[in-house]
Amino acid sequence: MRTNVFLGLAIAAIALVYGQLIRGIAGTGYIQAMGADSLPKVLFVVLLFLGLLLAVYSAFGRHGHETVAGFSRSELARVLVALVLIVGYFILMPKVGFDLATLAFLICFQYVLQMRKILMLVTVAVAATMIFHIVFINFLLVPLPLGLLRNM
């Protein structure tokens, strides 16, 4: 019950933030026509209402009985580790380049996913990085960040 109340309030908070953001949009000035601000204003009001409705409904009504998976503590820890690795990969890529970042990411992520055969883990990481480089940078000409390897 508490989870859905909290979620409803979070939705209402998102609506309020959106409401603040759309204040600067220029409208038409007259009510008969729809301007650039009309749809955002409608969406703001509807989302705020729905968020509050979810919170109230969950506190007193049927939504209170809904089972929400959410995250257990151990699941949350695993999700955070996965997300930290992914975010770290994104941050690292422009700095050290696609190849080095991908190699490091593949090794770390496989290890986190319980791959304990170190030789296989490293072989897969090296081979995959090389294949990605050849296919996407050399063959498909995707200008992936080269980072430290720019001048090589």
């Binding site: 990969y89 992520f109 791959m115 296989m120 995707v142």
Partner: protein, 502 residues
């Protein structure tokens, strides 16, 4: 016989070596995705999308249709050999497929999975090819008010029939519409909600958004499961015949026909999903059977009824997508995004504006069906070895592909961060019962909804009453309201019944 013309035109358009190759390649990828637990056809489509966006649309569509076809068929393999459905709609297949495989009849079970999938797919494609042009004729006369009202109805329908609550579905649809308001205003041309970032002027890019919503949550959830150290137990497919005997095929004719019919009808209802069709078909087959007590112990009837329904859903779900721009399920929602990325605008006018594309879709679907039959029966033993690839290797590689895919659209790291943002939104949605499909639909249909509403108002002399004065538009809006208030209506009716009985 307009539909015959459309279909034959499509066949002549797609019978080219490169299209055939991509269809077969797509079928293989779809099968692999279906076979590997944790991967789905929609996941594969979003991963492929950035690379397909640069291809000829007919070739790209051909590959996507192959993925859809293969994905649905492959899901039944893991349900049979691992007791883990590769796709949610293959869950019913496991009821009899797995016991059959355990009893040493894995080959026979897999053979029926392939055969029933192909029959279900074929029959639903024929219904699609016949029904879509008829519906297209009706939607051809829609103007801006009707399209606006229909878009509202579409988002409402998909939100309402999502697996979770109506309220949460509508919230996600509204959030999707909010994302669609970011970028240059489609009428005035002024930037809106961009926060001064030039990267946002083109709006929310669909590819990073879709990859984020569908791929990232799946990868992170797989990471959660893998870190627990769960192991898979695979039943080996030993030697012997896989192709079902003619007698066995003939004995299953009623189950196959009923399954295909149920799958097509359920697929055509926006929001109703594949699992509904396969369980309905399974239940009907059991009721009609002379030996209902044997269901669940490992009989072919349990596979033929579910797999034909499961694959027919794909054809049925394409009917509302192609004629009305409303996806029937998650896979077609992703296909809708793919069509938009390829430069098309699915909706009521799609059948008339892009008749060539519609023909190509019909023809490639049929081609993918035949390709699936050949590919499955010739290479199923090799394909099934893929199950042994550890997900611990696969998931990191797929993550890298999502990054390259999102980055390659505009060569901007910004799009990779956008993907991560949508990934977190998608993950939270999955864990807290907020359906992601309405979010995607709102993001895709938002610009259409806004432009049509504004065009209707600009050309109207009666102001907002234009939406009420047009009967079709009024009907769609009333229908949307009925759907929105259906829980309250149901509650009211139940109270009246209780009062009457008291």
């Amino acid at each position: 016989m307009r539909w015959v013309k459309i279909f034959t035109f499509g066949v002549s358009d797609v019978l080219r070596p490169e299209v055939l190759l991509y269809v077969i390649f797509g079928t293989y990828l779809g099968l692999i995705a279906g076979i590997l637990p944790g991967l789905t056809a929609s996941f594969t489509i979003v991963i492929l999308l950035p690379f397909l966006a640069h291809l000829n649309p007919v070739v790209g569509i051909g590959m996507l249709m192959g993925v859809v076809e293969g994905g649905f068929t492959g899901g039944g393999f893991t349900a049979t050999l691992l007791n883990i459905p590769g796709t949610p709609s293959a869950a019913a297949t496991a009821l009899d497929g797995y016991p059959m495989a355990k009893n040493g009849r894995a080959g026979e079970a897999i053979g029926m999975v392939i055969f029933a999938s192909v029959i279900g797919g074929l029959l639903s494609r024929f219904v699609l090819v016949w029904a879509a042009p008829q519906l297209g004729k009706v939607t051809m006369g829609f103007g801006a008010p009707e399209i606006f009202a229909f878009t509202v109805l579409g988002i409402t329908l998909v939100a309402a029939f999502s697996e979770q609550s109506l309220l949460k579905g509508i919230i996600m649809g509204i959030l999707g519409l909010m994302f669609a308001t970011v970028g240059v205003d489609p009428v005035s041309g002024l930037p809106r909600l961009t926060g001064g970032l030039y990267q946002l002027e083109a709006g929310v890019l669909l590819i990073p958004a879709m990859v984020g919503m569908f791929a990232i949550p799946q990868i992170v959830e797989a990471a959660m499961d893998l870190a627990k150290g769960d192991k898979l137990e695979l039943i080996e497919l030993k030697g012997g015949r896989i192709f079902p005997s003619l007698r066995s095929m003939w004995q299953q004719k009623a189950n196959l026909l009923w399954g295909s019919a149920i799958g097509t009808v359920v697929g055509a209802i926006p929001g109703a999903s594949g699992p509904v069709a396969s369980f309905l078909s399974y239940d009907l087959a059991r009721r009609r059977s002379k030996y209902p007590e044997k269901f669940g112990t490992g009989i072919v009837d349990g596979i033929s009824s579910t797999e034909s329904a499961n694959n027919a859903v794909a054809g049925g779900a394409l009917i509302p997508l192609l004629t009305l721009g409303i996806p029937g399920d998650t896979v077609t929602a992703v296909l809708l995004g793919a069509l938009v990325v390829m430069g098309f605008s699915p909706g009521p006018l799609f059948m008339t504006e892009h008749a060539d594309m519609v023909s190509a879709i019909f023809a490639t679907l049929l081609l993918a069906n035949i390709a699936s039959l050949i590919v499955c029966f010739t290479t199923v033993r090799v394909l099934l070895k893929i199950i042994k690839v550890p997900p611990a290797i696969l998931m990191p590689l797929l993550t890298v592909l999502t990054v390259i895919g999102s980055y390659s659209m505009r060569n901007l790291m910004f799009d990779v961060y956008a993907m991560l943002f949508f990934g977190i939104v998608g993950l939270l949605g999955r864990r807290f019962n907020f359906p992601v499909v309405p979010l995607l639909l709102g993001t895709i249909l938002g610009p259409i909804l806004e432009v049509k509403a504004r065009v209707a108002l600009m050309t109207s002399r009666e102001g907002a009453l234009i939406f009420v004065n047009h009967p079709v538009s009024l009907a769609f809006l009333i229908l949307s309201l009925i759907i929105l208030f259906s829980p309250a209506l149901k509650l009211g009716l139940a109270r009246i019944r209780v009062q009457k009985s008291a």
